[in-house]
């Protein structure tokens, strides 16, 4: 975010404005001055003054075809850049359509600014046309929210919203804009310096000493990497710590990509669909070093049996996470990168433990030699990510394919794995892929989706086509809601209820109708050419891949069970 001199006016700071400036002009010009280049949105009644002010602005507005997609696209852009993504919608249904995307950003700690139009101030609270209390409705899923009542305070309050969204543990901030405030004539001054502190404080040395002592006496330590590592800018620190200490490491869904992908002592993802090497290591460890993770139930399984014999070191930039679900024997609050750099346990005599973890990793490595000629999705995803290399960015949807991506794809960086981790929102993949590919057009951005998920935001093919977005769409079609079907198969006595999508459209034809290049993959032999065609496409392209509906995600920890009790194929 650009720092703003306290005395500068909007007119001095940005290109010439129309003679009469309104609150809406102040919104647009403040965004320009703050360095925003792109906003995702959809116009409507109460937000029309902002759309009027957008013409002639340097902001690039991306017209999505559903407001939820605006939030998801802004979310993906924010995950890649670390800067707040911006989305924009009108009051009422426009605002409510954003809510899933806001919740998604909140659950995964993504910085985002949500601008919503609102009915005029005098009509608020009267059940006016397209009036909903989005300020109140969104409260559980925002880091903060404001209603701007005074047009003169627009620049100051928007700048503060950015500082809140991006500072500390990031999150979404909603700004509700009554129409009369947007239409009022206003010539505000740019804001003073933010009153927020810059970042997390360094950890206390005494806490680090306590953690070092626990590490020194440990015989079987495991590093448990979560999304807070990437949020805290601690990826290099984690890699250095792993190299320096040799501690075996596991990662949550959001922690994937933090460890170097070729690191020998990285055991993969833990949890419900984690690998055996990762889950058994956590089960057997005597010390769990939790680094930016939050003991989420998908990672821990049954909490009282998770790392049951282990003591806990918990380091996090957000002190409210420490002790929330598991008491810490050593708590380290503050800058994770700084803490890891200063955490020095000396030489650790854990070679036998390392060796047993390594051997288990090799013994239980995923296999890709599935019988038959049909496309084996895990193998295709592995080949795809390896062919794309370090520039591979996956925008996942939610379901079996999401877990296959986590298990089988190679990520050079955590921000290259765009996934709806906390909320698990089907429909994320396509708009997230569009947002990511707009931000990183030279990368190999691939939306990996399923036939269930893609239908939740398939209208965004129009957005991909309109802007020529270089997003590759890999649609794994098993003609069913696969993950639900898998659970019904194993936990609901094979009572298959409402999961059959036998009447899906021909997705390649659908893509063609939107003007997008598309093709269908029927067999394993076609996979190499399909990957080549996808990765070398210059514009949007969709590969419709038919897979076996009976294919399941393995391993699987049954609900309510310990991670040590994995089911396997």
């Amino acid at each position: 975010m650009t720092a703003l001199p306290a005395t500068q006016t909007l007119a001095e700071a940005s290109p010439p404005a129309p003679a009469k400036q309104t609150g809406a002009h102040a919104v647009v010009r403040t965004l320009e001055v703050l360095g925003v280049e792109r906003v995702f949105g959809y116009p409507g009644g109460a937000i029309m003054p902002v759309y009027d002010a957008l013409t002639g602005s340097s902001l690039k507005h991306i017209l999505v075809r559903h407001e939820q997609a605006a939030a998801f696209a802004a979310d993906a852009q924010a995950r890649l850049t670390g800067k707040a993504g911006v989305c924009l919608a009108t009051s009422g249904p426009g605002a409510t359509n954003l809510l899933t995307g806001i919740a998604n950003a909140y659950m995964d700690s993504v910085p985002m600014i949500i601008l919503t139009g609102q009915v005029p101030s005098g009509l608020m609270g009267t059940d006016a046309f397209q009036e909903v209390d989005v300020f109140g409705m969104s409260m559980p899923v925002v880091k903060h929210s404001i209603i701007i009542r005074d047009p003169m305070r627009i620049p100051e309050m928007i700048a503060e919203a950015f500082a809140i969204a991006e500072g500390g543990r990031p999150g979404p901030v909603l700004i509700d804009l009554p129409k009369d405030v947007l239409q009022a004539e206003a010539y505000p001054t740019l804001p003073p310096e933010s009153r927020l502190s810059a970042g997390p404080s360094p950890s206390r040395q005494a806490d680090l000493d306590a953690a070092a002592a626990l590490l020194s006496s440990s015989e079987r330590p495991v590093l448990y990497i979560g999304g807070g590592v990437a949020l805290g800018g601690a990826v290099e620190a984690v890699r250095d710590f792993m190299g320096r200490t040799g501690i075996p490491a596991v990662a949550t869904l959001k922690g994937l990509g933090c460890a170097h992908p070729e690191a020998e002592n990285f055991l993969g993802m833990l949890g419900m669909h984690g690998g055996r090497a990762a889950n058994v290591a956590v089960d057997e460890c005597d010390l769990l070093v939790c680094c930016g993770a939050r003991f989420d139930d998908r990672a821990t399984g049954r909490l009282d049996s998770f790392a049951k014999g282990a003591r806990i070191i918990h380091m996090d930039g957000d002190g409210a996470e420490i002790g929330k679900l598991r008491t810490a024997d050593a708590a380290i609050e503050g800058d994770i990168a700084d803490a890891l750099a200063r955490l020095d346990p000396g030489y650790l005599d854990i070679e036998d433990w390392r060796k047993s973890c390594r051997e288990r990793k090799e013994r239980h490595a995923f296999r890709y030699d599935a019988p038959g000629h049909g496309v084996f999705a895990p193998a295709m995803l592995k080949q795809l990510s390896e062919a794309a290399g370090d520039d591979f960015i996956a925008a996942c949807d939610v379901g079996q394919h999401q877990m296959w991506v986590a298990q089988h794809c190679r990520f050079s960086r955590p921000e290259h794995h765009l996934t709806s981790a906390g909320l698990g929102a089907m429909g994320y993949g396509l708009p997230a892929g569009i947002g990511a590919a707009m931000e990183r057009p030279d990368a190999k951005v691939v939306t990996i989706t399923g036939d269930g998920s893609v239908m939740m935001n398939i209208q965004e093919l129009a957005t991909a086509h309109r802007y020529g977005v270089p997003v590759r769409i890999l649609l794994l079609d098993n003609a069913s809601l696969g993950l639900v079907r898998q659970w019904q198969e194993y936990f609901f006595d094979q009572n298959f209820s409402e999961i059959d999508l036998y009447d899906n459209p021909d997705f390649a034809e659908v893509a063609h109708a939107f003007g997008i290049e598309a093709f269908t993959v029927h067999s394993r032999e076609e996979v190499p050419a399909a990957i080549d065609r996808l990765l070398n496409a210059r514009g949007p392209i969709l590969a419709h891949v038919l897979i076996d509906p009976r294919e399941n995600v393995w391993p699987l920890v049954p609900p309510g069970a310990s991670n040590a009790d994995m089911m396997e194929d």
Binding site: I147, A320, G323
Partner: protein
């Protein structure tokens, strides 16, 4: 068992709603709530609350309250709650104040 918290928060729009919503969502029931305005654009809220189940930690709740943007500081009574009911509260800061 009921606990008591004193929360200092700014008088910004929605601050009280945000505070009450968080306490309820995090698994606590508010028994009583008293709000008093201070002169400097801040309010003081004193609430008596109890956890809906034994797994909820007041210490974690105070830190979750402390990260609300409107909240300036969170205090717990220096005396145990039972004693505090019969005495004037003396407060111990549970969360660092926000600058």
């Amino acid at each position: 068992m009921r606990d008591t918290l004193r929360i200092e928060l700014s008088d910004s729009e929605g601050a009280l709603m945000r505070l009450v919503g968080l306490v309820e969502r995090r698994g606590f029931t508010i028994a009583t709530l008293e709000k008093a305005d201070a002169a400097d654009g801040q309010s003081t809220v004193i609430m008596r609350l109890s956890a809906r189940d034994g797994a909820r930690s007041l210490d974690v709740l105070t830190r979750q309250i402390g990260r609300l943007f409107d909240v300036r500081a969170v205090f717990t009574p220096e005396l145990a709650a039972a004693e505090a009911a019969h005495a004037s509260y003396r407060w111990r800061q549970a969360c660092p104040p926000r600058n």
